[in-house]
């Protein structure tokens, strides 16, 4: 009900107006907002407005034990939580000088790729929904759920697994898990042509997404773009291959690239990465049974564990780009400082602000979903 003291403000006549876009808006991924200045429906200026998901992770982590933080970190990026746990564990292992057993490394790679598959299915499903193609979203989310079932079997958690701990993983692969994963991969692979027909080669989508949010390789490098978004501009770079961690240097996979740099190219890169992830998972399924040994190295009593003083900067390739943790220890039972560099802290803020210039209002949602921006990584 409008209050009695409401006064309409008279504005000078102009074509330009400003609009609050989000946080409560279906075209925004998560809880995030923009303020856009428009001329007609053309964006003249866009400003990101974050902080709706701020929980102060970095502060919370300073107040909790090293091992307790494993439960906190996956919450930083909800659609793709496994790289968070792995990256944090890698940092502690580097500081503490822990030798991770070979088998644990392979299990971690398996999880990372499963998580990437799930996140990509979710990402282009979301993009499809913003262009009005809800079927793709329904299929993508339903297929992602099958991966979550395997996560549940392996780790006990559907979304947050809290399965990687410093020194290895919590428990071994259940009996028959690899067979079920293998048949899941067969199923997903058989779905890919369906997705192509429905979405990636669908002219409704291709015409809508071509040229939207385009950037050149130079711009991408200048703005700090990473991950699939960088590969969509033609640069063949992947942390998994170029700064290898775990056992990625023993695996055989390709790095798909596209040259367009627009929303279409970014989605095609993700489509190609689905295939590569399946390829990696098949190699893991083949190799894992032959690798015997423990699944974690002995660590001290985790409730009274003083990680030696030191610092480490570890990077992994998450489904959204380069994810890095900077961890400082002063020899206490809690971290002294943890800094999380989420890939979306570039994509969702500066890159999006720049790509939105000159775009039309309805394309902002497309640009955001095609960059696969994840707001909780910005806010932390």
């Amino acid at each position: 009900m409008r209050p009695e003291n409401y006064q309409a403000r008279s504005q000078p006549p102009s074509n330009e107006f400003e609009l609050n876009f989000g946080p409560n808006h279906p075209g925004i991924e998560g809880n995030y907002a923009f303020r856009v200045k428009l001329n007609g429906d053309q964006v003249l200026e866009a400003r990101a407005d974050a902080g709706y998901l701020h929980r102060g992770f970095e502060k919370l982590m300073e107040g909790r034990l090293w091992i307790q933080n494993i439960a906190l970190v996956p919450r930083i990026c909800v659609p793709d939580p496994v790289p968070m746990e792995v990256c944090y564990s890698l940092a502690i292992e580097e500081i503490g000088g822990l030798e991770v057993p070979e088998r644990a490394k392979w299990i971690r790679v398996m999880q990372l790729e499963m998580s990437r598959l799930a996140a990509h299915l979710f990402a282009f499903g979301g993009h499809a929904a913003t262009t009005g193609m809800y079927t793709t979203m329904f299929w993508g989310v339903a297929d992602r759920d099958l991966i979550l079932d395997r996560f549940e079997e392996l780790t006990g958690g559907r979304v947050y697994s809290i399965y990687n701990i410093p020194g290895g993983v919590r428990r071994d692969v259940p009996e028959g898990f690899l067979d079920r994963l293998s048949s899941l991969l067969d199923y997903l692979e058989s779905r890919l042509p369906d997705y192509d027909n429905l979405f990636f080669t669908n002219q409704v989508f291709v015409k809508r997404a071509r040229g939207v949010g385009a950037m050149t390789q130079e711009q991408a490098l200048k703005w700090g773009v990473t991950g699939p978004n960088l590969r969509a501009t033609g640069l063949e770079f992947d942390v998994r291959r170029d700064d290898p961690y775990l056992v990625y240097d023993q695996l055989d996979f390709e790095i798909p690239t596209e040259s367009g740099g627009d929303a279409l190219a970014r989605n095609l890169v993700r489509r190609a990465e689905l295939k590569q992830s399946i390829r990696i998972l098949r190699q893991v399924i083949e190799r894992l049974p032959s690798i015997e040994g423990p699944i974690r190295c002995p660590i001290p009593n985790p409730l009274a564990w003083n990680v030696p003083a030191g610092e480490a900067y570890t990077r992994v390739e998450s489904s959204k780009g380069e994810l890095a943790y900077y961890v400082v220890s002063t020899g206490g039972d809690k971290p002294y400082r943890v800094h999380v560099r989420g890939p979306s802290s570039m994509h969702a803020v500066q890159v999006l602000e720049k790509l939105a210039l000159g775009a039309r209002l309805e394309d902002i949602a497309q640009i955001m979903f095609s960059l696969d921006a994840c707001p909780p990584e910005v806010d932390r």
Partner: protein, 243 residues
């Protein structure tokens, strides 16, 4: 030690909710309205936290909430249910209250995830509000971190049966105890907190004024109330720098 069966899983309101009209036709009409309300619930499409990740599976092919008559809706003015999916940071809580006040009655709030109950794992965090029901009347809590889609759907069904039986009357409490809720909000957001919706006038309109609607906090609201004007939107700090 208590038996597990003795542990109350759900608080049952003691008083018989809603008044039954004596005219049999009117009674039938009321029942029909309640049935329809419980079978067409539009939930607001607002992901406030990480629990929102389990909503797409619940809404799409696998669990398919739509078979129960639950659908996402994009505008608060046409929505029935406000889902609070997870922790609420203070910045979000302001938007949630603005959204809640814009929704048309009857309206229902569902708190998903443990964080809405008591802060959850972010209990130490300076940036999140802890007990959601201090700021809004909550109808159903769904605990878990995060609850599975089945749990979300079962919570929705709980709310449906509440609406059908007329027990879900919590939205009235916002008008009846507005002073209490406003006081908690002011404690968090500062004394000059105000929203564009005139809750007191609405309470008068619905006939829900009680002696707890007005109080010291609403007096403070009137004292600090500025005339509402169109929101001034500053786009950039860059403009400032130019001058």
């Amino acid at each position: 030690m208590s038996k597990l069966d003795n542990i109350p899983v759900r608080h049952q309101p003691t008083e018989a909710a809603g008044r039954k009209r004596t005219n049999p036709l009117a009674h039938v009409f009321d029942e029909l309205v309640k049935f329809c309300q419980s079978r067409s619930m539009f939930m607001l499409h607002y992901c406030t936290g990480c629990g929102a990740i389990e909503l797409p599976p619940a809404m799409t092919s696998r669990f398919d909430m739509e078979r129960l008559g639950i659908q996402p809706m994009v505008t608060p003015r046409q929505a029935d249910i406000l889902l609070i999916t997870g922790y609420v940071s203070i910045k979000t809580l302001k938007r949630i209250i603005l959204t809640y006040e814009q929704m048309q009655s009857p309206k229902y709030v569902i708190g998903i995830c443990s964080c809405t109950v008591n802060g959850g794992m972010y209990w130490q965090s300076y940036a999140t509000a802890k007990v959601l029901k201090d700021y809004l009347p909550v109808d159903v809590y769904i605990a878990g971190c995060m609850p599975r889609p089945e749990a979300v759907i079962s919570g929705m069904r709980e709310l449906m049966s509440d609406i059908k039986s007329g027990r879900a009357q919590n939205w009235k409490r916002y008008y009846e105890n507005y002073d209490h809720y406003l006081g908690n909000q002011q404690k968090l957001f500062g004394e000059d907190w105000q929203t564009p919706t005139d809750i007191i006038a609405e309470a008068r309109h619905y006939g829900l004024m009680t002696d707890r609607t007005l109080g010291e906090h609403t007096a403070l609201l009137e004292k600090h109330q500025r005339p509402l004007e169109a929101l001034e939107m500053r786009l950039s700090a860059r403009e400032k720098q130019k001058t």
